[in-house]
């Protein structure tokens, strides 16, 4: 009987265990910034392992979203390197820098999400998300046709006249000899 009971207990599937939430804290700075279209800026996140166990492999991933109007955002255009892998001992903290270029005008939010990384990720782990970085991008035409036009027209014109003068002068001198 005891043998049967042990057999049944070992055969039964183990009850589902809720995945432990990631014990990390993410802070970000600056929390607000203003720039112009095409401007480059950098945000820094500090990730701290607040738990009592090592974090294991974790992945910090940057994302950008439009929070006003209907501006299409392709985060890859904003930053080519949006993922950074790390692992933290209990109490350890690490600073990560994110280089970003504003490729759309409007009002955006940039944020970093921390997810577990590796083949043993169950898929139901909780994520940790940084506070939003509020990004205001002003539309600005940095260059104007009117500003460039005098140089664009005058330089070739003057050089063309000089070249023609020298070229035909040289030919005339050649034919006179």
């Amino acid at each position: 009987m005891i043998g049967l009971l042990v057999g049944v207990l070992t055969w039964l599937p183990a009850p589902a265990v809720a995945a432990e939430p990631l014990s990390v804290k993410v802070i970000v700075e600056p929390v607000h910034l203003e720039t112009v279209l095409g401007g480059r800026f950098m945000i820094t996140t500090e990730i701290t392992n607040t738990g009592a166990a090592p974090s294991g492999e974790i992945l910090a991933h940057l994302n950008v979203a439009s929070i006003e109007g209907s501006v299409y955002v392709d985060p890859e255009d904003w930053s080519p390197n949006r993922s950074q892998q790390l692992s933290l001992e209990p109490g350890e903290r690490q600073k990560l820098s994110w280089e970003i270029q504003a490729v759309n005008a409007g009002h955006f939010a940039a944020y970093v999400v921390v997810v577990p990384f590796g083949s043993n990720v169950a898929g139901n782990e909780a994520l940790m998300i940084s506070p939003l970085v509020d990004v205001d991008v002003a539309s600005r035409s940095t260059l104007t046709a009117g500003g460039a036009l005098p140089v664009v027209v005058m330089v070739p014109l003057l050089l063309g006249l000089a070249a023609a003068g020298v070229f035909f002068g040289a030919r005339r001198r050649g034919s006179d000899r």
């Binding site: 664009v152 330089v155 035909f168 040289a170």
Partner: protein, 280 residues
């Protein structure tokens, strides 16, 4: 080229002056070559075409909405890289005509009987070719000024363009003269030089979205043109300090030293009349 050099003086004074005269004769050759290049109108026509191209690029950068999206520093970088690349191309084309052109026009024999060493001839021709690079750089100044004003990078952009461009121009100008000295036909020399330049420019045209592994990095660093242009970008666009990416200048520097050295040592043996070439 018709070179007018005074015959060497006779007597003891000559002995003392010979060294100085030989040293200064490359300047005579350089002066004559520059006069040929610039008073014939050839140099000015090349510079005029260069300015037309640069005008097109600058206007496009200023007006095209897609390009105008670029940050102003990137516009400056784009125009400066274009100016350096085309300026170096013009230098290479002129130097590729240096010796093979003289052979083909039948003027090399006259040049070789003048009391000027072959090394002086080569040095003078290299300086004449580099004068075209200097001219294209001077022409590019107003374009860079139009794009860089207000961003505070005008001085840095010009100093960077001149420094990197001169380094690359010396290297490629020397290679062009070596090719020219080794070729009997001017067509072969110029075609080989342009083909070489296309090979060197190809890596700079790869789409930036392509995965850039170690092979791309090796390709970039082994190429004097691509690594020189990458150095300009790293300072102007990415805001790096001058010493930070100095390793990118190793290849342009080595090219200038090796090609320039080879030109000075092997050049005198290569500058000679060859069989089957019209000697006038």
């Amino acid at each position: 080229m018709t070179l007018q050099v005074a015959p060497p003086a006779v007597g003891t004074e000559q002995d003392r002056r010979t060294g100085t005269q030989l040293q200064s004769r490359w300047l005579v050759v350089a002066e004559q070559e520059c006069r040929d290049l610039w008073t014939s109108g050839r140099g000015l026509i090349l510079v005029f075409l260069f300015s037309v191209l640069l005008s097109g690029v600058t206007y496009l950068t200023s007006t095209n909405q897609a390009l105008n999206f670029l940050e102003q520093r990137e516009s400056v970088n784009l125009v400066l890289q274009f100016a350096v690349a085309v300026g170096v191309l013009a230098t290479l084309v002129v130097s590729a005509d240096g010796i093979s052109g003289e052979r083909e026009r039948g003027t090399l024999e006259t040049l070789l009987v003048t009391p000027v060493s072959r090394r002086s001839i080569i040095g003078g021709k290299l300086i004449a070719a580099l004068s075209l690079w200097i001219a294209t750089f001077l022409v590019s100044i107003p374009y860079v000024w139009v794009l860089a004003r207000g961003v505070g990078i005008l001085g840095r952009a010009l100093a960077l363009g001149f420094f990197v461009g001169t380094l690359v121009a010396v290297g490629l100008g020397s290679i062009g003269l070596l090719i020219s000295a080794a070729c009997n036909s001017n067509k072969t020399s110029i075609t080989a030089s342009i083909f070489l330049l296309l090979i060197l420019f190809a890596p700079t045209q790869l789409p930036s979205g392509l995965p850039q592994g170690w092979f791309f990095d090796v390709l970039l660093r082994a190429n004097p043109v691509a690594s020189g242009l990458a150095y300009i970008s790293s300072i102007l666009v990415e805001g790096h300090s001058w010493p930070q990416d100095l390793a990118l200048l190793i290849t342009p520097l080595l090219t200038a030293l090796i090609a320039g050295g080879a030109l000075m040592f092997a050049g005198p043996r290569l500058v000679r009349l060859t069989r089957g070439v019209n000697a006038g």
